[in-house]
């Protein structure tokens, strides 16, 4: 297939994947929350409530889009796009299987983090453009939270890059080939604190996407809906899609860096066309297991207070991840000599 067509086809697939995920992750979140709380959740619309996201989407689309008085029209309308588009574009570098990646870029990891930073800019502009005091307070909190949690995340990622010597996501997955104890999370010979490193990365990705227990920015009982207070109908729907797309990106990165990406736990892999689906299958299982844990965590814990959130980052996560970085460097350099 000629190159431009292949890229466009994969980009469309990536956007469809993001959209479908955003819609059906809402369904699985509502069902998961319901069963934790010993009730059923959506069941009237379609069998097991499977058509509920479609009904919600139609409802959001039929609402009147209005501009609140005193709002800045350009900022108000550009902000949701700024949150959603980078998240969807990050899907282009994620390897779903060995050959199933839209664009295998050598700096894939860096590109994902660059796009993640635009996310918080979008929230801030949206809040400022809404001319609502609640939204501005929430956006101020979001900015300091995001900055604080990006640091341990980047330090952990630097540790992994030091181990694999490459920023190409597909290469990182290929270096974890073999049995499941070749996955990075089990490689205690690289660093004794590898599982701790995975935990730090997971917690930071929860905080980056403003997910509970770190959802001060959209604290429902204090600031109504935080940054999204003034957004009607589809404006809120676009923010929502961007948030779920970010969650999927965060979980996908954790799977690629630590859990072996599309590698299966046994070193067997069928040839040719079937091999693509084999890799895709394992990737999706690991991805959805992590996303289930994200949903499970949201419905168990209360919200952290703002300065405790920052305390956690500056006083606990950063020292531990720095210590891990030095430990990994020592282990890589010293142990091959022994």
């Amino acid at each position: 297939m000629p190159e431009p067509f292949r890229v466009i086809l994969f980009v469309i697939f990536a956007m469809a994947f993001a959209g479908l995920n955003a819609a059906y992750l809402v369904w699985s979140e509502r069902k998961g929350a319901a069963h934790v709380q010993r009730r059923i959740g959506p069941k009237e619309v379609g069998p097991y409530g499977l058509l509920q996201p479609i009904a919600d989407g139609i409802k959001l689309m039929t609402k009147q889009l209005f501009l609140p008085k005193g709002a800045d029209p350009i900022l108000f309308m550009v902000a949701p796009l700024m949150v959603m588009v980078p998240a969807i574009m990050s899907f282009c570098v994620i390897p779903f299987s060995e050959t199933f990646v839209a664009a295998e870029i050598n700096l894939g990891l860096l590109m994902i983090f660059a796009f993640a930073s635009v996310n918080v800019l979008g929230l801030l502009l949206g809040a400022w453009g809404s001319a609502n005091k609640y939204a501005v307070i929430a956006a101020a909190r979001t900015v300091s939270q995001n900055v604080a949690y990006e640091i341990p995340m980047l330090i952990t990622v630097i540790t992994m890059v030091m181990v694999t010597n490459t920023m190409n996501l597909n290469e990182i997955v290929r270096s974890q080939a073999g049995w499941f104890f070749h996955w990075h999370i089990f490689r205690l010979d690289i660093s004794l604190l590898m599982p701790v490193s995975f935990l730090i990365f997971f917690v930071c990705s929860l905080a980056e996407t403003n997910r509970a227990p770190f959802d001060m920015a959209e604290a429902e009982s204090e600031l109504i809906a935080g940054v999204y207070t003034e957004y009607p109908g589809m404006g809120f729907g676009v923010f929502f899609m961007g948030e779920y797309a970010n969650i999927v990106i965060g979980a996908a990165l954790a799977v690629i860096l630590f859990l072996g990406g599309w590698q299966s736990p046994i070193p067997f892999s069928p040839e040719g066309f079937l091999g693509v689906f084999w890799g895709l299958f394992w990737f999706l299982i690991k991805l959805y297991a992590l996303i289930f844990i994200v949903i499970w965590i949201r419905w168990t814990y209360p919200r952290t207070q703002f300065y405790q959130l920052l305390n956690l980052s500056w006083k606990v996560l950063i020292p531990i991840s720095l210590f891990n970085l030095i430990l990994t460097a020592l282990q890589i350099k010293i142990f091959p000599w022994l």
């Binding site: 709380q37 709002a71 959802d215 009982s221």
Partner: protein, 373 residues
């Protein structure tokens, strides 16, 4: 953006309305907060959004016709309010209550207290962001409400007490049901402990937040768990004992620290103590009438000024009755405990951050219809 620039640019504080419609203020309460960034400089509660003139209705209705009103003030612990009013009129008119009726009153009031504390627990943790304990608490509360419905016929706004006794008698299925409930609740309380009380996030959220000193509580007249969480050992059931409470053996939990965690622990311990009272009452329940032998045909309190206080779930609820010998009251004053508890919110929340102030407001256990009556 123009709205934000309306104030003088040199002014550092801005006014935020924690408006009448807000998920965290349980009811229609408006708090005008003057904030400096995220810190509160001054908090002014504005009341009156749900004033329904119950005290005026007390002057226009006969003694019996006021009974439905009692349950509507604080709908979560309606039986205590019934008790306060009925006992005040009985004291004024000299009506004797048979012993079985007194025991039934105590059992139902304590069941109501447990259900009120369970709902407070769920709503408080919901304010802090944990959505699940609310539904677990409602599961338990549903059993209590089913029991009370089988006796009184209502689930929330009870109109069960009458002058000189209660309306309906209980049967054996109620007694076995209550014992089952207590067994089940005793198994569930450690679960709440492990899921919520010992959770590090909740401990960080509540410890040392919203300190109320003993002196501040005394000055504003706070009663109930708010005062007991600050070290004041005052419980109307023990210190100004009424009904058959002197016959029961129970403790009054008092914590010294005065922060939100102390008030939380006081209420959780009170649930256990209420269960003890119910068990003892069920064991000692005497046979007998539930209405007085000489049926009360016409309630006629003597002329005078009477006061009666009971321990509601939120504090000491007092009824002051001024009667002039006719068939309506001359003046009926209801002292609501939450009104005094809320009045210390202004001084206690100076210099706090907004989420901490909301945790403080949640731990005060406000029910706004009771404040506005």
């Amino acid at each position: 953006m123009n709205g934000l620039l309306q104030q003088d640019l040199n002014q550092e504080t801005f006014i935020l309305n924690l408006g009448p419609q807000h998920p965290a203020t349980h009811g229609v309460l408006r708090v005008k907060l003057e904030m400096d960034g995220e810190y509160i400089v001054k908090a002014e509660p504005v009341l009156g959004y749900i004033h329904r003139m119950h005290e005026k209705m007390g002057e226009n209705r006969t003694w019996v016709k006021f009974l439905p009103n009692c349950g509507r003030m604080d709908y979560l612990s309606a039986l205590s309010y019934n008790h306060g009013y009925v006992a005040a009129v009985e004291r004024a008119a000299g009506i004797e209550v048979p012993e079985r009726a007194e025991y039934l009153r105590v059992i139902t009031v304590e069941l109501n207290r447990i259900s009120s504390h369970l709902l407070w627990f769920g709503a408080f943790v919901l304010d802090l962001g944990g959505f699940t304990p609310l539904l677990y608490a409602f599961d338990d509360r549903e059993q209590i409400l089913d029991l009370l419905e089988s006796v009184t016929g209502s689930r929330l706004t009870y109109c069960y007490f009458r002058f000189g006794g209660v309306y309906n008698d209980i049967d054996d299925s109620f007694i076995t049901g209550t014992r089952e409930l207590i067994k089940r609740l005793r198994k569930r309380m450690p679960m709440y402990d492990a899921l919520v009380t010992k959770n590090i996030i909740l401990i960080k959220r509540l410890k040392d937040i919203g300190p109320i000193s003993k002196d501040m509580a005394r000055r504003y007249g706070a009663t109930g768990p708010v005062a007991r969480g600050s070290g004041i050992n005052f419980d109307v059931r023990k210190d100004e004992s009424y009904s058959v409470y002197p016959e029961f053996d129970f403790d009054v939990p008092v914590y010294e620290e005065g922060d939100s965690m102390a008030r939380y622990m006081v209420r959780m311990d009170e649930i256990e103590q209420s269960m003890r009272i119910i068990e003892q009452a069920l064991d000692k329940l005497p046979e007998g009438e539930i209405k007085p032998k000489k049926a009360v045909k016409l309630v006629k309190p003597e002329k005078g000024d009477y006061y009666y206080a009971v321990e509601a779930a939120r504090g000491s609820f007092g009824v002051r009755l001024v009667s002039d010998g006719t068939n309506t009251a001359y003046r009926l004053k209801l002292r609501s405990p939450t009104y005094s508890n809320l009045s210390l919110f202004d001084e206690a929340s100076r210099g706090m951050l907004l989420p901490d102030a909301l945790a403080l407001m949640g731990s005060l256990d406000l029910v706004i219809p009771e404040i506005d009556r």
